[in-house]
Structure formats: C-alpha cells, structure tokens
Amino acid sequence: MAPSRPRGAAGPHRVSTNHRLRILYAAVILIMGIIVLRLFYLQIIRHDHYRQAALSDQLKQYTIAADRGIIYAHQGDNVVPLVLNQKLYTLYADPTLVNNPNASAAKLAAITNGDEGRYSQLLKTRPSRYQVLAKRLSENQKSKILALGLPGVGLQAQDYRVYPQGALAANLLGFVDDSGNGQYGIEQQFNNQLAGKQGMLKAITDVNGVPLAASRDNIQKNPVAGNNFVLTIDTAMEQQVQDILQAQLKKVGSKQGCVVVMDPNTGSIKAMASYPTYDPSKYYQVSDISAFNDLAVSDPIEVGSIMKTLTISTGLDKGVITTNSAYPDPGYVNIDGATIKNVLPIPENPVTIKDVMRDSLNTGAIHVFKLLGGGQYDQQGRDILHDYLVNHFQLGKPTGVEQPGEGAGGIPNPDQGSALNLQYANTSFGQGMTATMLQMASAVSSVVNGGTYYQPHLVEKETGTNGSSDSFDTKIVKRNVVKPSTAAGLRDLMEYVYDSNYAIYSSQLHPGYNVGGKTGTAQVAINGGYSKTDFNATFVGFVGGDKPQYVVAVMVKDPYTFESEGAQAAAPIFGKITNMLINDFNVLPTSH
C-alpha cells in the first residue's frame, strides 16, 4: 500500500495549476494596468485635446435670424402694413445627384413657371455641387416640389420683404437687398433698428443636428426682432398722388417728377411721390439706379418762380412792401452788365405786388430785393435775403427728414464771388440757387402756417418688440419765421394767384375753401450756362379752410411744353391734388 500523501501537500499537477493561475492573474493585472494607464493618458493627460476633438464634431453653432421690423402707414383712421416679411424658398440642386436632368427640369419648371431649358442645362453642370434654379418660391410651390421627391433637389428657406401695396411709396421706402441690408429710403435710414439682433444657438447635437437638451455646454441667445415703424403717409393719398403725377408726366412727356403733400401745421408728410419709380420686390430688375432716388429729397434744383413766395415774404416781413404796394416797372432790369426780363409782358404801370405774383414777374422779385437793400442792389439787400432764406426758411441745409442722401441745396454766399448782386437778383426769382421740393414745401409751410418751421418728417412712431414705443413728436425748428401779418399777406397773394389762373392750371374754383399757389419755371444749368430748350416746371400751393391744411409742392423735369411750363406742366398736378384733398381727405371749409 502506497503511503498516502499528506493532506494539503501539493502534487505536481496542483503546483502546475497554481502557477498558471498566478500567471493568468499577473497577465490580467498587467492588461488592466495597461488599460488604466492608457485611460489615464487619454482622459487626463490628453483631456483637452480629445474634448476639443469631440466638441468640434458634436458642438454646433447656429445663427437665429431676427424678424425684420414691419413698416406701417395710415389708411384713413386705420394703420395698414406697407412692408411685411414672408418666408420664401430658394430652389437649388446638386447636379451630381440628379438622375434624369431633363425630366427633373420639366417637372420643376411646371411648378415654378421657370425656363425648362435653363433648368435642364443647370442640372447637367457637373461637377458643380450647387446650382440655384429659382428664388422666391412660395410655400405652396415648395410643397409641390418636395412631393416630387427628386434626388439632388432641395429648398432653402429665406426671409424676404413683401409689399402688399405693390410699388406704392417705393421711393421713400427703399428695399432690402439679398444680404439683408436696407438700401435707400426708410429701409436704409433705419436699417439698424429694423434689422433687430440675431440670436445664437450653440449646442451639442446628435448626428442629425438636433440639440441634446442634457448638455451643459448649450448656449441659447434668443433673437431680438426689429422695431416696427408707423409712417405719417396716408396710403390712399399716396396712391392717388402717385397716379396723378404719373399721368401728368406722361401727358407732358417728362421722365422725372415728384410731389410732396405736407401738413403745414405739424410737418408731417402725408404723401411723397417720385417718378421714375420701381417695384421694390423686384428691385434687382431695375437697370437704371436713378429710379431708386426720392427726387423730392435727393434732387436739389433751381426752383424757379416759386421762390418769389419767399422773396416777397421777406419783403413783407421787413416792411419794405405790402400786398398792395405798386412800383414802376419798365419790364427789364440791368444788373452787373446783364439784362433780366420777364416771360410775360408787363401789365399796365404801376405794377402791383399782386401783379408780380400773378404774372410771375422776375423784375418784381428783383424790385423787392432792391428795396431790401434800401433802394439799391447792395450788400445789405444780399445779407437780408440770405438771412431769411437760410436762417428763417432753412434753405441751403438738409431738413433732417428720415431719408438717406438728402440734398442740402445751396444759397449763394452774399459776401464772396463775382457779380454778387446779379446772383442775388437771380436768387430772388429762383435761379442761381438750388433747393429740393421738400425744402420748398417746408419753407412755404412755415410762412402760411403763421410763422413756425416744423421739421418735415415721415415717421410717426417706432415700436419695439418689448412693447416700448417712441413717438416722433413734432419738432419745431424755428418760431417766428415771419410775422403773422406776413403769413396772412402771402396767403392772400397766393390765393389771388390761384383765383386768377385756375383755368390755366386746368383746375377749378373751390368756393368755401382757401386755395393758393404759385407756379415756377426754371431754366436748367448746362456747362456753366443755361439751356434754351430744357426747363423744369414747379408749383407750390396750399389747400385749407380757415387755415391751410395741406401744402403741396410739385416738380416736373424737362416737359415737352415750352414756356409757362410751371402753369402747363406742374400746376395741373396741383389742381387735381387739390380736388382730391377737398373731396376725399376732410379739408374743413372756411367758417365764414
């Protein structure tokens, strides 16, 4: 019998097993150690590197566009939108993914009303990966295109400005370009306020780009919508003024013109039309960029005889004339070697100030200038006329209306230059100086309203998204522009002119209302001289009852008509606008 092995003693087999186990343990521990070390290296030492690498894949940043502010205008007692926003779609394609370009082009063209041939060509332009087929597609068109399920074709949403009133007031509104920047008009003037502030979303996303809510690194900054603006414009009046202007320009063969209708008691611009004009939703189709200009604001011209209203106001205010003054007028004036005459023959002498206004006598305006100088053409007369034109009637400087690119115009310096007396004689009847129609409307308003110059303005109210509201209060630029007696005197003279000439103006009398006006015809300066064929026609007038309610300034550039252009080209616009204002816009009749 073999001796039994003591209990607990290891045999060769057991020893071998234990040894293997130890080796296995050691291997496991070694591997785990390696893993731990590797993890330590990756997670601790290379922490920043891998964190950045992970975030670069997962952390995405999106820009959240802010809604652009809406522009409103009045329609009677209501406020209606002139400019709104709408999401429209850009149709694009990746030609490398398009299976059947011709068939796809046919289907897409049928929906977008586009050019099938052009689409087909674009869809074949490999290796290009991005081709824009159409822009500004509607939601309905988008749905139809998506329903086609065409490979390689996609749609991208973009906010666009839309104009429910069409081309109404386009020149004063401006437009927004493809980059989202306002150009011209209110859109440019208040671009920052209208644009708002875009928001931002920085978030860890899943593979589809959907933000994961549990991430601590998510940052969301909500966009701030742009402010809304309410304009002083009345849409119905604007539309009619625009129609009247365009019809008359067509009739007299003019290519450019403008009209301003203003409330002389507040400076509010009720209508401001300019031609040529354009459709702001298709601004990119305009070939002549001058169509973007608001001529009433940006185009100072030699205004012609409507300036006599201001020259005579100066004479009345300085007390050198009255509305009944008379003087001998030979029908011409010699100054600094030049002879100045009138268009119409001189009436029977002595000539009265009423005659000067009615027949638009240049010699009469020069007579007032002479009286301002104490009976001679001199420095005193120039200084007084300059002071009134610049400091009282605010000519020669921008009015500050809410439009970009406003023209300042110019009044000759009374102290410097050659033939100064001749220059100021010309200035007295609207030549040798420049002003915009808005400046003239504002200046005449400041006289006929009794002597207060209000800053002309287009914006009535600005409203923020947080409910804050800024009213653009009426701003008085200058009080006591003229004495009340001067204001009454000029009103009487302008009413006399209208009552005497309304038939020439293709207009009519309005019993019970006070209507006054003054024509202007200005030669156009060319190459240091004046053109003998080109004239600009102007008109400024007012409509009201006991006090003027509207002041209207009209400009028609280079009409076909010869001589008396102011009467034949511009005055009919005033006449028709006067009818419109009395019939449709609650002009109060006189109380007596």
């Binding site: 999401k87 429910p164 009133q165 899943d206 933000p211 809510a213 549990a214 849409t235 019970g512 019939n583």
Partner: protein, 115 residues
C-alpha cells in the same frame, strides 16, 4: 425544603449542564471585503444606470422641444403668410380692381352749402 430551595430546584429542571442561562442573539454579520466590493460595484452601476436613464430621458425631451419648436416656427410662417395675404386682399390696387369699385360712379367735386 424551603421556599427558596424549591424555587431553585424548579429552575434546575430547565437548565442543562454547561449551558448558559442567558441566550444571546447572533452577533451582526459583517460583510467580507469581496462582498463589500461587489456591493459597491453594484451600487455604482445602479447610480450610473440612473444617470444614464435621466440623461436619455432629458435628451428625449430635447427631441420633443425641437419638434415643438419646428411646429411653432411653421405656425409663425403660416401666420406671416396669412398676414401678407390679408394685406394683399385689402390693398388699394385690389380694391380698385374689384367688381364693386368698377361699378362705382364718379361724383362731381363737392361744393359748400350756404346757410
């Protein structure tokens, strides 16, 4: 037999030799180091699982939020389109071209009644 000895005799009837008269309950069982480790690992796993559950649930809300935001965005776009359409329907050009407007008759310019 005295009273006290009779008491003692009755007690002896219940007590066996070498046996304590006081019965102690079993002492608290202490877990060994392996058990402790396993428990800790299990707890850690549970906590991790709980965390993962919560993160997953929260991220699930993210999808809900995203979906609702998209819906909100679509509704806003629809509202904007309707506003545009309403404004277009009320525009001056459309009103002027309407059947009713075309049947209107022009009136002579107004005058003023003298009382």
């Amino acid at each position: 037999m005295t009273y006290s000895s009779s008491i003692a005799a009755s007690r002896r009837g219940y007590v066996r030799r070498n046996q304590n008269s006081v019965r102690f309950s079993a002492s608290a069982r202490a877990l060994g180091p392996i058990s402790n480790t396993i428990v800790l690992i299990v707890l850690a796993c549970l906590v991790g699982l709980l965390y993962l559950t919560q993160v997953t649930r929260t991220n699930g809300y993210g999808y809900t939020i995203n979906s609702l935001q998209q819906e909100q965005s679509q509704l806003k776009d629809k509202k904007a389109s309707l506003e545009v359409e309403a404004a277009r329907l009320q525009s001056l050009n459309r009103v002027a071209d309407s059947h009713t407007a075309k049947n209107l008759v022009s009136v002579a310019p107004s005058g003023v009644l003298n009382q």
